[in-house]
Symmetry: C2
Subunit: 593 residues, 2 copies
């Protein structure tokens, strides 16, 4: 059975050596001294590796079961969920007013990665609760907040998000679910929603569904969509649970993976709902949840890649097969371990350099969210808004590829369910799809985010990279050559792509959109290149100081060199593709495919 | 439920317009006029799309069941198998002497693609039979051939290949299965084999296992491995079935995909076996089967990509979601079909250009096998031996990526088993692993095949590309720019990589092996580039002639342009990676991963 070890040391390196968080001016960061964050990460590491990870295979094998309207989660999920609640993990970064601990997002992200890696299907029950709570926090009335948040922050009640219908996912303007206003100010919600993660289950007393629907008589299309709170059990004025609401599970979907999470068809039959936020402004309210969810999903890409990588390393060290071409390395054994073989190492280095780069990227993103939320930093807000589709799309596309590579290290055993590697691949696959399929992320990036606020944020990104390179070049020739120069070259490719879009996208937007996927990927590479340059600097500084674990820092530098030399140059290929424009992409009649 | 349409027209184009097979001097090719091959392909297309494809989902959902030593295949498999037998499809390219039709491999490959695409798990029952029969044909005594081949060619008896043991897959020198010589010239085989496809089932009267084992007292390691015929039921002198042999199924593996095929743990308890080929030369005999199997697996990569692509196109035309950015294309409908969106087209074009290029590559390879087998053409034999790891490794790696892309077109529905796209991805995954994991293919290519016969075959490949470019350049400036120049550039990258290996691999072989996966992929791209240039030429000629379906040929040219402009330039990235050598790949201590 696969195992999971929480990457505490690596997280501490990113938080303190690279991002130097406790010195940041963001309110709440002043408490984030290494000892303090270490204590939290160690505790989360223990819970995730010892309690939650062992349930990952169980969840996959058993799946969820629907009987007479009741959904039973896999064996052990309920007990583990109680432990998560006891630890107060869902409320880690929620306001104290509602029972949370008011930690910054950067801590929530680090802990969240551990939960996702240990058991993605299990973690979604609390993850969606967190997202729904955030939406209520941002858009709810005081009464709504008081009614729902304490119970959701404690995870006594869980949350869901209901967008998709059978005939519409991306294009929510086609939505058919209706909301009929009632005399008491509530609404009756009627319609069917599909793909509702954690839609029904036995882990919580109540489930708070956030449901998009159209108020009768409102504007056509997406402009007539509103968001509603629809509790599974209505809540009495004293906070106790009232009658069962008309929100019921129709069936559980059979999926490729994340079997431990109940993906439900939900039927709303005149269910009582309460408007969340303004009438017809449902998309705006839902996007609070969606943006959070997109970052969380990007993290899932990294998390599955990490746990798969960890197990691939164990297998590559254990499995004896063949001899090193340069001479036996374990002559006393019948064969050398797999890890002596260059192509196995090539694969493991690809995984390792992605995972560690992606982790830094996510945590850096989280510091920007904190700066935006806690310090009202508009620039940080704009930059993280630009990077959200990159985090979601790039990290899940590449994260999935990396789980496939990790699975491949196992040879035939990778294909046998018993070994657990297939599950990582199958579970990771969903992250490329949900919360906006990655093609939609690329469209969001190129079609919307690039031009946002007059292109200010993408210019700020280029400026940031340029300044970083300028500030850190010239003191070490080798470092310049290995880290700074490749980053400059990649960033230049990205700028050239942006220039191509500007020059050609105006006359025909397809010239930009045909390259959107390539652009998202090259942007991701530049971000990871930046992260590796930052990590390389930090490692070099630590080595110069002579403090800490020299092998750890040397390994960082080697892994960074690998990324810069072998992975980052992918930007040139993406640029080549982008510069071919839309012609060959759009030339065929639909009938000729 | 997904559907499958046999690509008869496209195959005819490759066979006749591109490869011009009926004009080739290979014996048997003179019969392969367009009408004749069309009749075969139409017939195979009917059987595969109407009978075999509809069982694909059934096989995945039901899987195989082991009860009291009997393996039951999924509902409908037995009836369909009878229809395959009635049609004589397994013996299509087998000698008439044993009941076959003696067709060339190029026809067998075209038909084989259809079978694999329609239902990979089902097709493996006959595919392995074909492979085992080929090994007996190449290495068996006359008596062995007479005893086993007629029944295997008709598929009354099926075949298997038994290599892997729990502790060894790639490194078969570690094998523990023993063969004890008996007074009558037979052997008693004892040991356990795992991952045995079609190891036990209810489709045939008898199963002929080809089993690798070590004869007691023979040389150590791989040099002491011999191959044995171990029938499930012993065969009496009159050809009737005798006693049950000690070859039994221990369990069926739970796998990520190909559920319709029974992957068995096989136990040999003093089972009677008959030496096939020479003592201790088992690997040579097994490689007859393996090389055939590797080409067949490469074809599976293409086949799964094709059927997944076909369904993605249907969905992209049916599913209404969003509007074309350049203005509504279906203004009378609530939304435009997915296929109007540039990123969806980009994905579909990647799939289409891969599938059609790969099909030409496979069929071109098959003509070389025919030239080698039927005309004793040593150069063709050498070239196809060089290309075998490329066909297996590149086509299954990229084929898998393409099934993932096709699945992605479905959005959330791609993740739900009911829609069938997940199965294509899960089934395609195995092809990267079995018959030598793709890392082993890359090692075979760079570590062995490149230098084979003094590097003669790779030089012949470069010469072939060079001559092609020279012969076809200069008459059409646009064609030169769109097809010939990119092919030249890619081939030059490949040569530069080969040069790097020569210059650096001698002092440290890791410098070559660290780039083996990149080299395999760039080689694959150059082959597909060559195929697209050939197809482009053929399409241009057909358009100039004014015969046939102009839209079909125009589509070929457009698809070719897409491949040359956007996919082929990947060679430059692979070259960049290769030229970084082994340093960053091999630098880490195993303990620091």
């Amino acid at each position: 059975m696969p195992t999971y070890t929480a990457p505490t040391k690596d997280m501490q390196f990113v938080l303190h050596d690279v991002l130097n968080i406790s010195a940041a001016s963001t309110p709440g960061y002043e408490d984030l001294e290494p000892d303090f964050t270490s204590a939290i990460l160690e505790e989360a590491g223990k819970l995730t590796s010892e309690v939650i990870a062992p349930l990952n295979t169980v969840g996959d094998t058993e799946g969820c079961r629907l009987e007479n309207g009741v959904v039973y989660t896999p064996t052990g999920f309920k007990d583990a969920f109680e432990k998560v609640k006891e630890g107060g993990w869902t409320g880690l970064d929620m306001p104290e007013q509602y029972g949370g601990q008011n930690m910054p997002q950067v801590i929530g992200s680090a802990v969240g990665e551990m939960f996702s890696a240990a058991n993605q299907a299990f973690t979604m029950y609390q993850g969606l609760t967190h997202g729904a709570a955030s939406a209520i926090l941002a858009h709810g009335t005081d009464q709504q907040k008081d009614t729902f948040l304490p119970k959701m922050v404690s995870c006594d009640w869980t949350g869901t998000m209901n967008l998709t219908e059978p005939h519409c996912g991306t294009d929510l303007g086609l939505m058919r679910t209706k909301a009929a206003p009632q005399a008491d100010g509530s609404y009756k919600i009627t319609g069917q929603k599909i793909f509702i993660s954690s839609g029904e289950h036995d882990l919580a007393e109540n489930i708070i569904h956030l449901v998009l629907a159209k108020i009768e008589g409102g504007p056509e299309g997406i402009k007539g969509v509103s968001l509603f709170i629809v509790p599974k059990f209505n809540v009495n004025e004293d906070g106790s649970l009232g009658e069962r609401n008309g929100a019921t599970v129709g069936s559980i979907e059979e999926k490729m993976g994340i079997h431990g999470n109940s993906t439900c068809v939900m039927n709303y039959d005149g269910a009582t709902g309460y408007l969340l936020g303004d009438e017809h402004k449902g998309m705006r309210a839902m996007f609070t949840m969606m943006n959070e969810a997109r970052l969380g999903v990007g993290m899932q890409g990294l998390a599955q890649a990490d746990v798969a990588y960890q197990n691939a390393v164990i297998y590559a060290n254990d499995r004896l097969q063949g001899r090193a071409v340069t001479g036996a390395e374990a002559p006393d054994k019948p064969a050398d371990p797999l890890i002596v073989h260059p192509d196995i190492r090539r694969s493991l280095m690809e995984q390792k350099s992605f995972v560690e780069g992606a982790r830094a990227f996510i945590l850096w993103g989280a510091t920007m969210i904190d700066a935006a939320h806690r310090s009202g930093d508009k620039d940080a807000d704009g930059l993280v808004s630009l990077l959200t589709p990159v985090i979601k799309g790039f990290l899940t596309d590449v994260g999935y590829d990396m789980t496939v590579k990790a699975q491949q290290v196992y040879g035939g055993h990778g294909y046998i369910e018993e070994w657990g590697m297939s599950q990582f691949t199958r579970d990771a696959r969903i992250a490329m799809i949900y919360e906006g399929a990655n093609g939609v992320q690329a469209l969001d990036l190129v079609g919307r985010k690039l031009a946002q606020d007059g292109g200010k944020h993408v210019m700020a990104f280029f400026e940031l990279v340029k300044t970083f390179c300028k500030d850190n070049a010239g003191t070490d020739e080798v470092f310049d050559k290995e880290f700074i120069e490749p980053l400059k070259a990649a960033s230049k490719d990205l700028q050239s792509a942006g220039m191509y879009f500007m020059q050609n996208g105006m006359k025909n937007p397809n010239h930009a959109l045909a390259g959107s996927n390539d652009f998202m990927h090259m942007f991701g590479h530049v971000c990871l290149g930046l992260m590796w340059a930052k990590m390389g600097l930090a490692a070099r500084a630590a080595l110069a100081n002579g403090t800490g674990d020299a092998a750890f820092y040397e390994t960082k530098l080697t892994t960074g060199r690998f990324y810069m030399a072998r992975q980052l140059p992918a930007t040139a290929l993406h640029l080549t593709r982008i510069q071919t424009g839309a012609d060959t992409v759009m030339a065929l009649d639909a009938a000729n495919f």
